[in-house]
C-alpha cells in the first residue's frame, strides 16, 4: 500500500517546518542548552525528510548518530563549560549583520539555482529492500572510502581522548 500523495505533502511540510524552526532556534537562542535542543529538533526534522524520501536507513542512522550521540556530546560540552553562561554577553559577535547579509545572499542565489534549473528528474518507484544492496556496495564499489572513513573514526577517537584528557 503506497501512501497517498496528500499525506506525503503533509508529512513533508511538517518535517520541513520542524527542521527549519529547529535550525533557527539553534542559531538564535542565547541559552546554549536551548540552542542544542533546537539543533536536536532540526536533526529530527531532517530524519523525517529522509523518511519522506524513502531513505529509511539514512533516516534511522541520522536519529541514531545525530540525535543519540552528537547532540549528547554537544549537551555535555555545554554542561562542562557552563560557568560562562552566567556572564552577560551578547550571543552574537560584532559581525553578525555581515553574516546575515552573506547568508541571505547565498540563500537567494541557491534559491535561483534550485528553482531555475531544469533538473533531469526521473520518477522512480523503489522496489524491494535496498539495505542489502547498500551493504554490498559499501563492501565493493565504495570499499576504499569506507576504509578511509573507518581509519578517520579511529584517529578521531584517539585524538578526542588525548585532547580532552586532563
Amino acid at each position: 500500500m503506497s501512501t497517498p500523495l496528500v499525506l506525503t505533502y503533509v508529512g513533508f511540510l511538517i518535517m520541513a517546518a520542524v527542521a527549519i524552526c529547529g535550525g533557527l532556534i539553534a542559531v538564535s537562542a542565547r541559552n546554549l542548552i536551548r540552542a542544542a535542543l533546537g539543533l536536536i529538533l532540526s536533526f529530527v526534522g531532517v530524519a523525517g525528510l529522509y523518511f519522506v524520501l524513502e531513505a529509511e536507513f539514512i533516516a534511522v542512522v541520522q536519529i541514531l548518530v545525530y540525535v543519540g550521540a552528537i547532540s549528547i556530546l554537544v549537551l555535555f560540552a555545554v554542561m562542562l563549560t557552563r560557568g560562562l553562561m552566567r556572564r552577560d554577553l551578547s550571543a552574537q559577535n560584532s559581525q553578525w549583520i555581515a553574516a546575515l547579509v552573506v547568508a541571505l545572499v547565498l540563500f537567494s542565489a541557491l534559491l535561483l539555482v534550485a528553482t531555475g534549473t531544469n533538473w533531469k528528474v526521473a520518477e522512480t518507484k523503489i522496489a524491494g529492500d535496498l539495505i542489502p544492496k547498500l551493504g554490498e556496495q559499501l563492501m565493493t564499489t565504495y570499499l576504499l572510502p569506507f576504509e578511509a572513513v573507518s581509519l578517520l573514526l579511529l584517529a578521531a577517537l584517539v585524538g578526542a581522548i588525548v585532547i580532552a584528557r586532563e
Binding site: 535550525g23 546554549l32 573514526l153 578521531a156
Partner: protein, 106 residues
C-alpha cells in the same frame, strides 16, 4: 512525487541558517552547532539527488546514500574532536568565546 526543488530549497535554507550561526556566534560550541546544521543540509541534498536523479535499475547505484553515510561519520568525528578542543581551551584559558582565542591571529 513531491518536486525536487522543494527539497533543495529546504536544504538551502538550512545551510544558510547554519552558515549564519557559524559566522555570527561568539561561543565556540554554538559555532560547531552551526557547522552541524550545514552538514545536515548537505546530506539532505545528497539523499534528495539520489532519490530523484539516479535512474532506477536492477543494479541501483546508491552513491547518494553511501556518501550521506560518510558525511554522517565525518560529522561525528568532527563533533568529537571539535568539542574536545573546546573543552581543552576552556580548561587552559577559562573561555569558550572565540574572540578571546586569537593568539595565532596576525
Amino acid at each position: 512525487m513531491i518536486p525536487l526543488p522543494f527539497y533543495l530549497v529546504i536544504a538551502a535554507a538550512l545551510f544558510c541558517v547554519g552558515l549564519y550561526g557559524a559566522l555570527a556566534r561568539r561561543n565556540a560550541i554554538a559555532i560547531l552547532i552551526g557547522i552541524e546544521l550545514m552538514l545536515n543540509a548537505v546530506n539532505l541534498n545528497l539523499v534528495a539527488f539520489w532519490r530523484y536523479i539516479k535512474p532506477a535499475s536492477p543494479t541501483m547505484d546508491l552513491a547518494g546514500q553511501v556518501f550521506a553515510l560518510f558525511v554522517v561519520t565525518l560529522a561525528a568525528a568532527e563533533a568529537a574532536i571539535g568539542l574536545a578542543l573546546v573543552i581543552a581551551i576552556y580548561r587552559s584559558r577559562d573561555t569558550v568565546n572565540v574572540e578571546d582565542v586569537d593568539l595565532m591571529k596576525w
